[in-house]
């Protein structure tokens, strides 16, 4: 019997289809040899002077050597100058494309998959994220900083052969963020507890969806995951904002992230994936009021979405997903993959 499950935060229903259920090995990516012959150039290295550095972390003994560097994205869609200029046109709302659109180059070497970076390198990436969020938070026009990463092993599709993340700072809160905020707030109003803290507690108790745990973080297979092997990493200590995470915890965060990414790589033959960091928006407007419970009701987290199945049209149209991989089976599979960290 297939099951319908509801995401407790945003209220989205997902069909967990056991009739169509697949074994993990049915989802393993086939190696595409077409791209093996192509040796694309790395645009970042080849055209280094076209990328103007915004900020970087460098070797204190050798200033020439960078560890992590932030540059504006080429063809950036949002520009930092100008006013937001909200206006209406009949029914429609419009505003100028003001914001920031940056790339975080996560390694000086051509390492494509974040899973292959050393732990101390990933720590540095997190400190750079924190630096950028803090810096962008001082700009009163901006409401939200979205940090995300799209990884694909197919080098013919990559213009930069370095592991990298994207930063997008926006004058509005994105829809999914708003939904999470609304769901978390509603839960808090009734229970006076954070829904994410409750999820962590329940997942630790039940154990069936727990993939990995260390002193500061848990990685779980989401109860109502939309995609096979979808994962969420949550800090155990309640904290609404990623940039308030104490830097001494970065090592445990790097360890759990690297471990689950390696599990994907080893277990599913290096699939493409996306990572999105969800953190509370800047305290503007009603969120800046003392009565706002945002600090108590929201809990930052990371979503990891492997791209193993094609999303069909009705999922776009309806917001209703069919996941052919029961999250408990996914957790079991991932838990049993040894990555030797």
């Amino acid at each position: 019997m297939p099951e319908l499950r509801r995401d407790p935060v945003v209220g989205r229903w997902v069909i967990i289809s056991q009739e169509r259920s697949k074994r993990p090995k049915d989802l393993i990516v086939e190696i595409n040899n077409d791209s093996a012959n192509v040796s694309p150039a790395c645009d970042f290295c080849d055209n280094r002077n076209e990328y103007k550095e915004i900020v970087s972390l460098r070797d204190p003994n050798n200033k020439e050597k960078f560890y992590v560097m932030v540059v504006p994205r080429k063809n950036h869609l949002l520009k930092i100058e100008g006013e937001v200029n909200r206006k209406g046109r009949g029914l429609y709302d419009i505003m100028e494309g003001v914001g920031a659109h940056e790339l975080v180059i996560e390694t000086p070497e051509h390492t494509l998959n974040m899973a292959d970076l050393p732990l101390e390198q990933i720590d540095k990436v997190f400190s750079v994220f924190t630096m950028r969020i803090k810096e962008l938070s001082t700009d009163n026009r901006l409401k939200y900083v979205m940090i995300y990463k799209n990884y694909t092993p197919d080098i013919s599709k990559n213009t930069i052969l370095h592991s990298r993340s994207n930063i997008m700072a926006m004058p509005v809160n994105p829809k999914r963020v708003k939904e999470k905020l609304a769901g978390a707030k509603k839960y808090y109003e009734y229970h006076e507890r954070c829904v994410f803290c409750d999820i962590i507690r329940q997942e630790k108790e039940m154990g069936v969806r727990l993939i990995e745990e260390n002193d500061d973080f848990v990685a779980i297979s989401a109860f109502a995951g939309r995609f096979p092997f979808e994962m969420t990493i949550l800090p155990k200590a309640h904290n609404a904002d990623f940039h308030h995470c104490p830097p001494e915890k970065f090592r445990n965060l790097s360890a759990i992230l690297k471990s689950v990414l390696l599990k994907l790589k080893v277990g599913l033959n290096d699939p493409a994936y996306s990572i999105v960091l969800f953190s509370a928006p800047f305290r503007r407007g009603y969120l800046s009021r003392p009565s706002s419970s945002l600090n108590e009701d929201f809990h930052w987290h990371i979503e990891i979405m492997p791209q193993l199945t094609r999303t069909a049209g009705f999922e776009w149209g309806s917001g209703f997903y069919i996941n052919p991989m029961p999250p408990e089976d996914a957790a079991e599979f991932l838990k049993n993959i040894e990555v030797g960290l």
Partner: protein, 338 residues
């Protein structure tokens, strides 16, 4: 110059990039044109009726018996359903989570007996028969009190999620209202409460006034590229008369809808070299005598060509980046002669 645009119904923001010139030829490098190669293995072809579950509806102009060749449109339960028809919903909690059994209907509408024909290539008359099948199934499934929502959609081409290449659409009857529909309902209700007008009626009239995003219009339907499109060449077909569900279509209006749908699919096929696409028919949930949806919801079709890759950012944020602008998409689609 880019701009942010907000969908007045769902509240979703999209970044529209005016500066970027979109070239349909360049897009067609990104996806293979949809081709049919597996006719001999196809279970949707006439003569293989035994291989599918028993039909629940068919259009048989020659009066041929059920589950035999002779049909022009055939509706069968999905052999690999995402939801099953028997059983109780049994809503229950798991700690703080909610779940229920996956009870529902999942049917396949085989749109043509000809393996190599695509929906866009059907004649108006045959297209109208496909839509009559939609209408008949909606009216029938409505009687099952367990179902709250019926979703009709089509995946065309592998990268749009089709697993069988013989042209077909699908209908899923669900025991709850899907999230995006729920959001549309809320948005439409909010507007209606204040203005006492249907937002969709206002929307198509504004589109008609501004004219620059209109692709096609006939006496009953209007096709346009939405002001807040998520994908290049996305189109919306809307009835001009206020109507909450496709099942309310009269035979006359149904013919006009067939013309509008064929027109839109033909334009896509011609301009983008038979691209993969999805369409979803948005209708009001199953109603009872107390429902007000009839007044403020207005059914429509969303057609989304699957020619650009959607990445993690869009998933995570519900925030879309549109290459080019809907105005430019509309201009190109309008110029197509088919």
């Amino acid at each position: 110059m880019t701009e942010f645009r907000r969908d007045p119904i769902a509240g979703r923001w999209v970044i529209v990039n005016h500066e970027e010139q979109i070239d349909p030829k360049e897009f067609s490098m990104l996806y293979p044109a949809v081709q049919k190669v597996n006719q001999d293995k196809c279970f949707f072809c006439p003569g293989k009726e035994w291989a599918t579950p028993k039909e629940v509806y068919a259009y048989r102009p020659d009066g041929s018996p059920a589950d035999a060749p002779g049909w022009k449109v055939r509706v069968v339960p999905n052999k690999f359903p995402a939801l099953v028809i028997e059983g109780d919903i049994d809503r229950r909690p798991v700690g703080l989570y909610d779940m229920s059994n996956g009870v529902g209907a999942h049917e396949v509408i085989i749109e043509t007996p000809d393996h190599n024909q695509t929906l866009a290539d059907l004649s108006f008359e045959d297209m109208a028969e496909v839509i009559k099948a939609y209408r008949a199934r909606l009216l029938d499934l409505k009687h099952d009190k367990r179902f709250k929502y019926m979703l009709i959609f089509k995946n065309f081409g592998l990268s749009a999620g089709a697993s069988v290449e013989h042209d077909h659409s699908q209908i899923i009857a669900l025991p709850m209202v899907p999230k995006n529909v729920h959001e549309e309902l809320l948005g439409a209700e909010r507007y209606f409460k204040y203005r006492e007008r249907c937002i969709f009626c206002d929307l198509w009239q504004q589109e008609k006034q501004e004219a620059e995003r209109i692709v096609y219009e006939n006496s009953q339907f209007i096709t346009f590229c939405p002001f807040v499109s998520r994908f290049p060449f996305e189109m919306c077909i809307m009835p001009k008369e206020h109507m909450s569900c496709l099942a309310e279509l009269s035979d006359n209006a149904l013919t006009e809808f067939a013309k509008a749908l064929k027109d839109a699919l033909k334009r896509l096929q011609t301009l983008l070299n038979n691209p993969p696409y999805n369409f979803v028919i948005h209708i009001a949930p199953v109603q009872n005598e107390y429902s007000e949806e009839k007044e403020y919801y207005h059914w429509h079709v969303e057609i989304m060509p699957r020619i650009s890759r959607v990445a993690g950012f869009e998933w995570g944020s519900g925030f879309y980046i549109l290459p080019g602008s809907p105005e430019e998409s509309a201009k190109m689609l309008k110029q197509v002669i088919w």
